[in-house]
């Protein structure tokens, strides 16, 4: 099964004095995960997204869309990136998800992807 791992976190901790260092450590964690994913031989993909301040949302009300400056949900935690991984089952996907570094507050949402043949 394919799962999408959505990374939502409070990015403010990457500001501040120790922010750069923390970001470096986090990226190193991602590199480790990417290596493990590559070694596994299973199909995967993933991307880091630019900051939430770069987001534009088309917000729909009753099917009528209007452009809106900012991300869809106005919370402290923002969608910052994602992976798409192959796993036998939810436990396998959760195992990959746990390898995503997240030093502050936030969450990793694990969602099965609707298969193409259903």
């Amino acid at each position: 099964m394919q799962y999408m791992l959505l990374i939502t976190e409070d990015e403010s901790i990457y500001g501040g004095d120790d922010g750069a260092k923390l970001m470096e450590a986090t990226l190193a964690g991602h590199m480790k995960l990417i290596e493990a994913l590559s070694v596994s031989g299973r199909e995967w993909s993933g991307n880091r997204l630019k900051g939430a301040d770069t987001a534009t949302t088309i917000k729909y009300t009753g099917g009528v869309g209007a452009l809106h400056d900012g991300p869809y949900s106005e919370t402290h935690e923002e969608l910052g990136g994602y992976y798409i991984v192959e796993a036998d089952d939810l436990d396998g996907a959760i195992e990959w998800a746990r390898m995503i570094p997240l030093p502050g507050n936030g969450g990793i949402e694990v969602r099965p992807i609707w298969p193409n043949d259903e």
Binding site: Y3, D88, D89, L90, G92, E95, V110, P112
Partner: protein, 406 residues
């Protein structure tokens, strides 16, 4: 016939687990089992091996259901995917005998931490024990429809999120086992919360069945044994919890002749096995507290100092309001009511989710100190918090007693 229904209920966890794991579909397994059970009840004679008979019959029902489903799918979308389905069918027909024990797999499916805790308990009681949705709804104080939706949603998540029908690898057991034990604990708490009131034998015996099963399947897990011992100890007092008028009888005043001693003995054996595994935990401590209470049935006396010390340990492992209240009550027995009351005063009653036990304990301790007006006030507050009938009768009697002394 009652005998046969009981055999069917006893065979259920094993048969349903084998079906579910093989079919990889909880609904299909449940439906097939229900049809097979109904057919079994119609037989002129009870089959010699009820479990085997049910499995064979349910397997046939499942194959019929899959064929029907396939025919519908074919009608809808041409003949694609038929070959693959035929392989599945051969697999189902091969389902082995004697029945492989897949109960642990089924427990791990129903109690997966990706399913909400209440839904997990409901799912386990429904699928493994076959408890009717109406019963489960009653225990969790919700409507039948809400409970039905909750269970349906949980089953859909198992399928859609890809919850494994395999046993988790041993290294992943920590979190998974905790989820299983929490589920069992919730089922137990729900089943026993009004056990003093309108007692429900079927439900509490199903929870016991589930607990015994977990202990039997996980003999190397001390906390699983501890929790099962705890549940069994609670069950051992069922007949002593209510007096002739239907009022709750507190543990320390129960007639020990009404306790179930074989159950206490079994609980003790499980706790011994748990202790030998050498890793303590909150469930084992809770069971130890209940076993210390049970000793009154043998010694005629309660070792309150030991109980207070166990509550101290529990407060460290798993702090909580109920533990703090029970600790204060035990402390009162050892060092006097004033001391227990002092321990209670440290708690913020307003912040408690359920303040009833707090006021009941406070009323009791104030009464012991002869502060009858204050005691009656505390009991009034407990009564105002809508206790179950048995507890209500107990609290009201206590209040009368306190006021009578003025």
């Amino acid at each position: 016939m009652i005998e046969r229904a009981r055999s069917i209920a006893e065979a259920r966890p094993r048969v349903i687990a084998a079906l579910a794991v093989h079919l990889r579909d909880l609904d299909l397994a449940e439906d097939a089992f229900a049809e097979a059970a109904a057919k079994c009840l119609e037989l002129p004679q009870t089959p010699r091996n009820v479990g085997g008979w049910l499995l064979t019959a349910a397997r046939r029902k499942a194959v019929d259901a899959i064929r029907r489903r396939e025919a519908e799918a074919r009608a809808a979308a041409g003949s694609l995917g038929v070959a693959e389905q035929a392989d599945d069918m051969a697999d189902i027909l091969k389902l082995s005998e004697p029945i492989a024990d897949e109960r642990l797999r089924l427990i791990f499916i129903c109690c997966h931490p990706a399913i909400a805790l209440e839904a997990r308990a409901a799912l386990a009681l429904k699928v493994i024990c076959g408890l009717p949705v109406k019963e489960i709804a009653r225990v969790f104080v919700t409507s039948q429809q809400t409970m039905f939706q909750r269970i349906t949603r949980a089953k859909a998540k198992v399928q859609a999120a890809g919850i494994a029908f395999e046993l988790p690898p041993r290294k992943a057991w920590g979190e998974r086992l905790e989820a299983v034990l929490l589920t069992l604990e919730l089922a137990y708490t729900a089943a026993f919360q009004d056990a003093a009131g309108e007692r429900d034998d079927e439900l509490s015996s199903e929870v016991e069945r589930l607990a015994r099963m977990v202990a039997e399947l996980l003999p190397e897990e001390p906390e699983a044994l501890g929790l099962t011992a705890l549940i069994l100890l609670a069950r051992s007092r069922e007949r002593a919890r209510v007096d002739g008028d239907g009022a709750m009888v507190p543990l320390s005043q129960q007639d020990t002749e009404k306790w179930d001693y074989p159950a206490i003995e079994q609980a003790r054996r499980w706790m011994d096995s748990a202790a030998q595994l050498g890793a303590t935990g909150p469930y084992q401590v809770m069971a130890a507290i209940q076993l210390t209470h049970a000793r009154r049935g043998f010694d005629g006396d309660t070792d309150w100092a030991a109980i207070a010390a166990l509550y101290d340990a529990l407060m460290v492992m798993r702090p909580g309001a109920m533990t703090a209240i029970n600790r204060a009550v035990a402390l009162a027995k050892v060092q006097g009511a004033a001391c227990g009351l002092e321990a209670l005063e440290g708690m913020d009653a307003e912040a408690l989710q359920n303040a009833r036990p707090f006021y009941a304990a406070r009323g009791e301790l104030l009464a012991q100190l002869g502060q009858n007006d204050a005691a009656a006030q505390a009991l009034d507050r407990a009564i105002a918090l809508d206790p179950a009938r048995a507890e209500m009768l107990f609290l009201k009697a206590k209040r009368m007693e306190v006021l009578g002394q003025n």
